[in-house]
Structure formats: structure tokens, C-alpha cells
């Protein structure tokens, strides 16, 4: 045994040391594992290739440059049926990113609100939040998506109900918003020349506000005097922008939805599949985030609150300056997972006809071209990249709030 662990006794290296010597054994096992995994991957790919060859199929991504031949109703960029499959994929990707982005924001708002309210001393509020969290956490997301979609479709009137001299439905908010079973139509701003200056003023005022907040913090550290930073910053941004907007003669007009032909035309159309997916994903993920937030807040010991109160801090300051900075350390990492889940869950969009990545490259393009393997590989790669980007961005944020050891 001593000979095996102490190779100085023997002259030179023996092959048996690879197994019996603890210094080499770990390396031996790792090399063997890598070889085994590599061999399995090689066999799997070889198997796939020979099976594809046997069926006379090749692996080629050339179909991406062929015309897609189908139309996509919801598209953030211009798209027609003569555009390529690649562009269709891109349209789907943008739709996925749109619903994922808006979903993450809404889920965060809902989650933080519900999580904090569940800790409320008000019995009714706390119990209502408990009901919300438990109902959404414990029912599969697909059912919620379909349920919200069914609600939007069945409980709202068809566009034809708005027609005629004595319509059964009317537009809401002074005839500017139409809620139908196909979607919600809201006024769409049309920017006229001069709006560019307003946008520039908006950006400049944000930069100005950032400088103000920095100055104010510096002043606080030097003199101990505080200012209502948030409200002043808000006033700077909106005051300046509104001023420029008025000076330029209000360079914006509105396109209002109006019932012409089969549908409402004009305005901005927000389709029901998108709304249903957005709401369902946000409510579902929000329930998980609420629990994460509640857990994070509870993880900060009560003594911290009591100490803050003893120093004379108001409850809002206690929350913002004492509890949340400590709770965020616990909250952020699991919220990253929730954002990733939400993004991946958005691929259930197909069930209600929202054309996302799964509906383009993984749906119609795949069916029409029959290139299942290529489409699935591409789709997986895209989801992987999206998820990695989200998680690295959130990790950067996490690094800024985590415990700083001094």
C-alpha cells in the first residue's frame, strides 16, 4: 500500500499506477469518461447519418434561403409569402423575444407585488395572494394559456357586433379602444417631422437626470442632506420632454381604429393570442417569483427591521435601504431561472396560434420543407443562445448586488 501511494520507492512509472495510485487514478477515470462520452456521441451521430443516408436524406440548410410561401399575421418586420424561410425564422424569433421580454417585466411586477402583499398584516390581502400563488403554481402553464385565450375569445364580442345603427357592442374610452374576440385595437401614434427632436430631448434629459442623481448622492455623502431624488429626476425627464414637445407644436397624430369591411382597420392591433400568452406566462411565472420574493424577504432576520426602526427609519426606507439589499442576494439567482423558464415556456404559443419561433421554423417551415432535423437543431440552438444571453445579463446584475466582502 505504501508503495502504491509513495512512488519514490519504486524506480520509474508502472502502468498499474494508473489504477492503484490515487494521484493518477482521478485522471485515468476522467480520460476514460471523456473517451466513453465521445464514443457514444460519435456512434449516435454516425447512426443518425447512416439512417438518414439509408432514407436518401441529406443534412442541408439551403432551404432557409427558399421562399417561405406562407404569411405571418403578427410580424414586427415587414414579411410576405415571397420572403425566405430565414426571414420567417427571424420574424418568429422577434415574436418570441417580444413576448419573453414583456412577459419577464410583467411577471416581475406581479411577482414582487404579490410576494410583498402576501406578507401583509391585512388578513384578506394576504389570503388573496395565497390563493393566487397556489392556483397559478399548481396548474400546468399550458392549461392557463388555453384558459386565458378561451376567456379572451369567448367573453368578448365579434367585430360584427359593432356594426349597424344599433350595435350590441360599442368602443370603449371615448371610441378609441375596441375590444373584440380577435384582439384589442388601440390608437396608434403617427410621428410627424419634429418628433425626432423630441426623442433627442428625451434621451438628453435622461442623461441629465442620471447626472443629477450622481451629484445628489455625492452631496448626500458630503453633507448628509437628502433630496427627493426620484421625483426630481422624473420631473427633469418629463418636464424637458414635454416642453420640447409643446414647442415643436405637438408633432404627433393618432390613427384610430375604425370598423371597415370585415375588421377594424387603423390603430394598433394587439391580437388575442399574444395577449393571452403574455398574461398567462406573466401570471404563471409571477406566482413563482412571488414565492421567491417572499422567501428572500423572510430570509432577512427580524432584528434588522427592528434595528432600522430603532434608528428611526420609516418602513419604506427600512424596506429600500435595509431589507431589500440583503434580500436581493437571495432573490436574484432563482429569478434568473424563472426568466429562463418563461422564455422557454413561450414556445407553447403554438397551442393558441401565436406564431413564434416554434410556429415558424419549428412549425410551418418544418412541415412544408420536411427538414425536421435541421429545423429542430436550429431551433434548439436559438433557444440556447437566448437563454445564455438572459442568464449572463442577469448574472452581471447579480454580481452587482451580491455580498461584497471587504
Amino acid at each position: 500500500m505504501t508503495a502504491a501511494t509513495d512512488p519514490d520507492d519504486s524506480s520509474g512509472f508502472k502502468l498499474s499506477q494508473l489504477i492503484y495510485d490515487t494521484r493518477y487514478r482521478a485522471i485515468t477515470i476522467q480520460v476514460l469518461t471523456v473517451l466513453a462520452v465521445g464514443w457514444m456521441a460519435w456512434e449516435l451521430i454516425g447512426n443518425l447519418m447512416s439512417n438518414l443516408a439509408a432514407r436518401g436524406k441529406d443534412v442541408s440548410f439551403g432551404f432557409l434561403l427558399n421562399p417561405a410561401n406562407y404569411d405571418i399575421t403578427e410580424s414586427l418586420i415587414p414579411f410576405s409569402s415571397t420572403d425566405t424561410n430565414l426571414r420567417a425564422t427571424f420574424v418568429g424569433l422577434l415574436n418570441t423575444l417580444l413576448v419573453a421580454f414583456l412577459g419577464c417585466i410583467l411577471a416581475l411586477i406581479i411577482g414582487i407585488t404579490a410576494g410583498v402583499l402576501r406578507l401583509s398584516n391585512n388578513w384578506i390581502v394576504a389570503k388573496l395572494m395565497t390563493v393566487y400563488v397556489e392556483a397559478f403554481r399548481n396548474i400546468p402553464i399550458l392549461l392557463w394559456i388555453i384558459a386565458v385565450f378561451a376567456l379572451l375569445t369567448e367573453a368578448t364580442p365579434a367585430p360584427s357586433a359593432f356594426r349597424g345603427d344599433d350595435p350590441t357592442s360599442t368602443m370603449k374610452l371615448w371610441d378609441t379602444v375596441a375590444i373584440t374576440n380577435r384582439g384589442t385595437y388601440i390608437p396608434r401614434p403617427i410621428f410627424e417631422p419634429g418628433m425626432g427632436l423630441v426623442a433627442i430631448a428625451f434621451v438628453l434629459s435622461i442623461i441629465g437626470a442620471i447626472f443629477f442623481v450622481r451629484w445628489s448622492k455625492k452631496r448626500f455623502l458630503e453633507t448628509g442632506k437628502t433630496l427627493p431624488n426620484f421625483w426630481i429626476a422624473l420631473a427633469i425627464v418629463f418636464g424637458v420632454t414635454a416642453l420640447v414637445f409643446l414647442v415643436m407644436g405637438m408633432p404627433v397624430s393618432w390613427s384610430l381604429p375604425a370598423l371597415t369591411g370585415f375588421n377594424f382597420q387603423g390603430g394598433l392591433q394587439i391580437n388575442n393570442p399574444f395577449l393571452a400568452l403574455w398574461f398567462a406566462l406573466s401570471l404563471f411565472t409571477g406566482a413563482f417569483i412571488a414565492e421567491i420574493v417572499r422567501g428572500g424577504i423572510l430570509s432577512v432576520s427580524k432584528g434588522q427591521t427592528e434595528a432600522a426602526f430603532a434608528l428611526g427609519m420609516r418602513p419604506s426606507k427600512t424596506m429600500n435601504l435595509v431589507i431589500l439589499p440583503q434580500a436581493l442576494r437571495v432573490i436574484i439567482p432563482p429569478i434568473i431561472s424563472q426568466f429562463l423558464n418563461l422564455t422557454k415556456n413561450s414556445s407553447l404559443a403554438l397551442a393558441i396560434g401565436y406564431v413564434d419561433l416554434r410556429g415558424t421554423i419549428g412549425g410551418t417551415t418544418m412541415n412544408v420543407t420536411g427538414r425536421e432535423l435541421e429545423c429542430v437543431i436550429l431551433m434548439m440552438a436559438i433557444y440556447l443562445v437566448i437563454s445564455l444571453i438572459i442568464s449572463s445579463a442577469m448574472n452581471l446584475y447579480n454580481a452587482s448586488v451580491k455580498l461584497k466582502e471587504r
Binding site: R55, A158, G353, N367, V368
Partner: protein, 338 residues
């Protein structure tokens, strides 16, 4: 995995030796059951009856092939497939035969490595709208919202038709036939478009069919037919000649009622060859000599199957139209049994 690697290698070896390795007919015989891909639910074409047994015009193709192979039309395992799964299921061998109102197109035949064995229903894409909309032609549909099943040829035809006529539309993509109907009935779309036969089937299932009209325009050719994998010509022959036998039997006047009598021998040599009285057609195709007799006894000829499932006396109420025998002005034309 080792087994599939081995099988894959075998297939490559066999192909390089110039012989067809896939012997689906032998596999089906060994399994004792035909795995047949069908539509999950289109009344008249493929839908489970009150006992949960699939019935319909497409289902009859499955039953006919089972009757030809086993002499028993009930030896079928039905695999309900939606439009996006069907070709993958076939190419991976999950099913042996796909009889699911599938349009025969170049890409599906050539690029997807399928083999269409014939056409059992000549169809075309049409539109259905609520009568209250006051639309009488598809040319008036500019700006309409259209419900459409994703991943089907109908989606492509729709895009082509509206583009050719310089009209715009909003597509409401739906995954299944049932979903499309519920969306259409809820008014989430103005128009529902699919093959005219399926429109008739859908309309028959509506609460008040008379409130809906099928527009006169047929915007595409949709030859619907059963298909098999391309790598097995012998199995393709079985499916092809089963369909041909049903069509030829109607032309020659052989029905489920008189097939027993005719199987005893007739003056018509073609009938005798078909029914296995003369010649050895069964041996050539690898089936029992009475295979056509079994098809006709248990399933019936093309006309019988049509009238029973989708004909004018059924709720679907389709007329023969293009699907009449060539002698009657239709397109059905079976090659000779010789």
C-alpha cells in the same frame, strides 16, 4: 442503440448491394396488425364512432389493406396524427400506411421520400363563411380574417390565392381541425378554409349548418391519397393495388353483396383474375389469392365505401363529382388487372 446501429449498418450494406432491405409486408404480417395513421377526427373521413372504433372513408383504406393482408379488416391499429406529425411518423416506421387526407405534392413525394400510392379523393380548397356576412364569392374576402390549419398545403394555397388577387388577409393559425371549427364558430375568424370535403364534414357537424355557406371558388387541386415510405416498392404495390381493386370493382360491378357469387367464377376474365379464380395475381404481390374477395366482402368497393361514409345520404352529403368513375365523367381510372 447497438441494435439500431446494427440495423442502420445493415440497411446501408443492403442498399449498397442493390437490394431493397425494408420488407414492410413481412413486418406487418409478423406483427399481425397494420399500423395505420389517420386523422384524429374528420366526420365521414376518419372519426371514432360511438364504440370508439375508427370509421370513415380514409379509414376504409386501412381496413381494406388489412383485409388484403390478413383476411381480416379489423386487424388495424389506428394512430391518430395531426398534420405536423404525419410524415415523421411514417418515415420513422411508427406507422406502415398513412391514410389521412394528405395532398399529393411534388415535395412530399420526392423530397420527403414518400410514395403516394394513388388518389382516393380528388379534392380542392374552398372557403366557408357565415351567411350573415353576405359574401358570395372568395374575391370579396379582401381584409378578412381566415382560420387555417398550420403546416398544411392549404396555408400555402391561401397565401398564393390572396397574393394573386392582390387582396390582404389576417391568418389565425390553429393546430387542429376541431380548434379551427371552434374558432370559426366563435367568430374569431370570418372565414375558414380547408379542403372542400372537410368543409362539408365540418358544416354537417355545426349546430345550424344552414347558417353557413361554402363559397363557389375552389382555389387549388388537392388530390388526397394514401402513402407509404418510398424505400419499399413491394409494400407500396400492396397499398396501391388495394385501392385500385376497390375502384376497379366498382367499375366492373362487383359489390360486397355479389362478390361471393362472382368468386365462384364468371364469364369475365378480368373479374376472374381479380378475384383469384384465374391467374396468380395474389402470388405475384405476396398476398393470399382471395385478397380482393376479402377486401370487397369486408369493406366493399369504392362506391360502397363512398356512399356509406360521405355520400349524399349521409350528413356529410358529398356528391361524387370528380370522384366518379371515368365512364361517368369522373377521374377514377384503375389500371387493368392483368
Amino acid at each position: 442503440m447497438n441494435k439500431s446501429v446494427f440495423l442502420g449498418a445493415l440497411t446501408v450494406a443492403a442498399l449498397s448491394a442493390g437490394a431493397a432491405a425494408a420488407a414492410t409486408l413481412d413486418d406487418v404480417k409478423a406483427a399481425g396488425v397494420l399500423k395505420c395513421g389517420v386523422n384524429p377526427g374528420t366526420p365521414g373521413f376518419a372519426a371514432p364512432d360511438a364504440n370508439g372504433v375508427y370509421q370513415g372513408f380514409d379509414v376504409d383504406i386501412c381496413r381494406a389493406v388489412a383485409a388484403a393482408v390478413f383476411g381480416d379488416a379489423t386487424k388495424v391499429e389506428y394512430v391518430p396524427l395531426d398534420s405536423s406529425q404525419r410524415f415523421t411518423s411514417l418515415s420513422t416506421g411508427e406507422i406502415d400506411l398513412l391514410a389521412r387526407n394528405t395532398t399529393w405534392t411534388f415535395v412530399r413525394d420526392v423530397d420527403l421520400k414518400n410514395e403516394f400510392v394513388g388518389v382516393n379523393y380528388y379534392d380542392g380548397q374552398g372557403f366557408i363563411v357565415p351567411k350573415a356576412l353576405g359574401v358570395s364569392s372568395a374575391k370579396e374576402l379582401d381584409g378578412a380574417t381566415v382560420c387555417i390549419e398550420t403546416g398544411t398545403t392549404t396555408e400555402l394555397n391561401l397565401a398564393d390565392y390572396f397574393r394573386a388577387n392582390s387582396m390582404s388577409y389576417q391568418a389565425v393559425p390553429v393546430a387542429t381541425f376541431e380548434e379551427a371549427q371552434s374558432q370559426f364558430l366563435a367568430g374569431a375568424c370570418d372565414v375558414y378554409t380547408t379542403d372542400a370535403s372537410a368543409l362539408a364534414a365540418a358544416r354537417s357537424a355545426f349546430a345550424t349548418p344552414s347558417d353557413y355557406v361554402v363559397l363557389p371558388e375552389i382555389i387549388s387541386k388537392e388530390p388526397l391519397g394514401p402513402l407509404v415510405r418510398q424505400d419499399d416498392g413491394a409494400w407500396g404495390d400492396v397499398a396501391r393495388w388495394t385501392l385500385n381493386a376497390m375502384i376497379a370493382a366498382e367499375e366492373l360491378g362487383i359489390t360486397s353483396a355479389n362478390v361471393g357469387e362472382m368468386a365462384a367464377g364468371t364469364d369475365n376474365p378480368e373479374i376472374n383474375r381479380m378475384l383469384g379464380v384465374e391467374g396468380g395475381l395474389g402470388d405475384m404481390i405476396g398476398l393470399p389469392n382471395d385478397w380482393v374477395v376479402q377486401i370487397l366482402t369486408q369493406v366493399g368497393n369504392y362506391g360502397e365505401s363512398f356512399e356509406r361514409n360521405v355520400g349524399e345520404d349521409t350528413p356529410i352529403g358529398l356528391s361524387r363529382g370528380l370522384n366518379a368513375q371515368w365512364k361517368d365523367g369522373g377521374l377514377l381510372y384503375a389500371p387493368p388487372f392483368r
